[in-house]
Symmetry: D2
């Protein structure tokens, strides 16, 4: 057990559903700390980067009132209350649009908020971010980020939806209470004022559907969805309009934090494309028949490939 | 019943599993023919366009021997043996790279073969083809087409894999015998000479996995996979190397024809993005709170969106 | 083309999205009729059996008013308006609870409605029906049938949900307009009076989610879901309370008919369990090591198996 | 950071992909230990119960040689090397077939091995275990357990497959290197002697396919699959014949341990079935129209339900 170096001072705590996550992680800590005969290890926190185009907050007084330091800072404040998470922010107006390769490489989970300036994001940044996701970086896309280049790139679809901005009531229902992103959530989260996002939502079928929203005006929306692309996990969560204080709602913050933890890197990237030489075949092989590749597996082409 | 206007000449045929597809389609024909009180209807066939970069066949003698008129023509010949399918071909060297908007608009299912010249395909063509798939056009991607721009665009991933060109034996196993693409297929299709494609295959989890291949050298591969993107259906089928006569194999042809039928347009495209005015809400609504959109749902941005 | 034996009388009809289903089925009819050099073939229609426990309609006056001849008969009348479908009914009070093996074997798609008497359905009937579904028979489960033994058996979960019977408004939204079950459906189907079914719905993640419902009282529900089990397709559709005339609504009828067509048998059943003798291995094998099976692949056990 | 109360003794360890799991769990330990201002907490380990029918090991000398104390004990020994996991065993010959309610309630993840005596397992035990899985208990099913009552119950399908017992070579390929169950695994695990399990495997489409096996005799098999049922996670892993020492292979042990960690309880069970009274509707409702339920939401039936 984790603090086993003080065994006399510990008192047993029954394992319970609510403590399941803490428990098994504690165990891993113990392995890290003690299983290696070394308690001098200092683990660094999960590195979260929150990207925001940061436009509405500086141009629209209503948005500025809701998020005086920007949506990114409101999110960073909320996330940083979690120990073990290190949240930094990045904005469109910064050098390299806030996400140079070094920052991306130093990010475990990227949170994305954009609305007015999707087209301003450079394609080469989108490509860099996509490659990091495929390699394992988590991505949490919020609200109008459904229309960001990075989300559309990873989905392969248009990602359109219906919408209406009338300050109506939204209920975010949990449809999958066993999913870790719903951990701690009640049956539904009520938002007195929200922007309606309605179906059909032009996304690929999610791996897991966690939340479905009800709107006062009569619509429904798949408001919490996950996908895996390459070795990276993606969570889309729709609540979060710029002029309503939704990101100050503790239950919304809880879902976003859960989503960040869920999206943390797992496993390893796929080591492809890769030519396997005949001599490396696991069963003994003799080359037969004609070939359009050279010995290194290359074809005379502009794009290479298999 | 279809030819019911000659009821005396018809003899009943018991419905059986093997005839299920024919049966219910016949019924539809009957509806089309007789349910409308009109037997003058002539249905036009499913419009299939087979695109091929058409490079190896002209540069490599081994490929030219296997496919003297090009892979596209070998496929068109096989597909056209199906009545009710109209197959045309298109190649990279044609105007607008073979796929002007008018051809795409006149295509129900697009078949794609490319290898050496993926990068030569223009991005604007890829965008056009993607939009048609999202709107309902089917797409059948063959063999090295896994690395085509259109497939990668729709998948959102790198689509890499392992490969080895040694003319080794491949067995294409049916893992989902209930799927219509496997209709008529035996337990497995044996190919005496094939190029090895091996896991990990960097694709999103398929909606349906229909075939898994075994290779003499010791590898496995998910060789038949489907996805839906927007309202379009996508089938990837890996057998089909350019220098081995795989596309002349009747079982391989059968799978490709099944895939084309499966990928035919269904339903309708999603009518999004779309702003729903407050006055059009299905439940009576009064606008509350601040807004960042104008009355038409537009935000002051370069990209618009919700 | 189908009536090609009268080629002079046919006039071309342009292929269009709306005609896609008719078209390709017509082609198959043509193949069946002419491709075999034989126009004497009479195809039999898709065989649909509608099972109803048929209790509320005889015990509750409100239900009797809505469905004087039973829900099964109202559904049969609606479905039979489709040519090419042959709908028969079966009820709990009939011999073998309406579904002897011969009827099941003669059924392509089984429609199920039950509510008050789920427990009365015998387990051996459930087993028979399950085996037929796994072998390819389609199953359409309606409304309170979510709690039927056959649905729970095929899902493996409890299939519970929240509910409220207050005659409130329901909107059945299309979330997947490209799916054939949604063909012809508008954005949403409005039902002035419905029973609320609410999340969480204790089902496995559907293969496809086609409809999500909005309820006046504030809830949402995944109201149209599909799964494949074995070679059989399953469609669950929740609208359809016994005391409200929902099954008389033409859009609801249309969805049910679409679901029946979608669920028709495809492909073939899996030929398993099956022992493959060493001599039958596709690659030459020599038996190595110890064995717990005899030469026929049997283990000394009560259940046999691999 | 976890041992931050001794800040001077800690040395930073760079966060890396390989340490990702340890890292974020360490953080949670820190929260548990320090965030509560209390370091006296002793977390109890993940409670794993390994069930084995324990028949072959006592009846067949070859099996007894491979697993002298039973497969369950070999697995327990391997799993217990993981700190933070508490593995106990249970066998068919024990009271209540080894799994009384108290043991199931005290189990986070149940591992199942059976072959010769599937039918001997009582249905009421299967029902108890199913309910625990739906409520959140993880289930890891090994090898011939594919044919166990509990696995078939949760899958809803026949779970049959092809097989051959010839001691042939198997390669267990990783098709999803980003999945946590594959963490630490190389490209493939080679087993010199294994029993062939071949497709088609009569299971519902897995949520995630992690491993696909290649067999010397020419077959393939989906050898590592996951599903979620209710709030419980299920992992099936096919390698593990009783007469070959596969469970002594460290890579196989690693996968099983990964699977156990992955299957640990998450979230919470769905609180259904549940009637929501009109007065409890989140939007104000007035009851309209007829009803077949009483005020408590009960219908006059044997099975109750919605």
């Amino acid at each position: 057990m984790c603090p086993a170096f003080r065994p006399r001072s510990v008192a047993p705590l029954r394992y319970s559903r609510g403590l399941a996550q803490i428990h098994d992680r504690c165990d891993f800590a113990w392995r890290a700390l003690c299983g290696r005969g070394n308690i001098k290890i200092l683990m660094q926190p999960l590195r979260v980067t929150i990207w925001n185009e940061f436009i509405h907050e500086r141009e629209n007084p209503a948005v500025a009132r809701a998020y005086p330091r920007g949506i990114h800072q409101a999110l960073a404040d909320a996330i940083s209350r979690e120990s073990g998470v290190s949240a930094r922010t990045a904005t469109l107006d910064q050098p390299e649009q806030g996400l140079p390769q070094a920052i991306l490489d130093d990010t475990d989970v990227l949170v994305w908020w954009g609305h007015a300036a999707h087209e301003a994001v450079e394609d080469r940044l989108v490509t860099r971010a996509q490659e990091r996701v495929l390699g394992g970086m988590g991505l949490v896309v919020l609200h109008s980020g459904h229309y960001s280049k990075i989300f559309k790139r990873l989905m392969g679809t248009g990602c359109g939806l219906c919408w209406r901005e009338a300050g109506e009531r939204e209920r975010v229902w949990v449809v999958n209470p066993g999913h870790p992103i719903a951990a701690g959530a009640r049956d539904c989260i009520e938002l007195e004022q929200s922007e309606m996002y309605g179906e059909p939502f032009a996304i690929p079928t999610p791996d897991d559907l966690i939340f479905v929203s009800w709107f006062e005006g009569g619509e429904v929306f798949r408001s919490g969805c996950t996908w895996t692309r390459g070795s990276g996990r993606i969570f889309y969560f729709s609540p979060g309009h710029e002029a309503y204080p939704i990101y100050h709602h503790p239950d919304i913050q809880k879902v976003i934090v859960n989503g960040i933890h869920w999206a943390r890197p797992q496993g390893r990237p796929a080591d492809v494309p890769r030519n396997v030489a005949v001599e490396q075949a696991r069963e003994k092989l003799t080359r037969k028949g004609p070939s359009v590749h050279d010995a290194a597996g290359r074809v005379a082409s502009r794009s290479g490939g298999a």
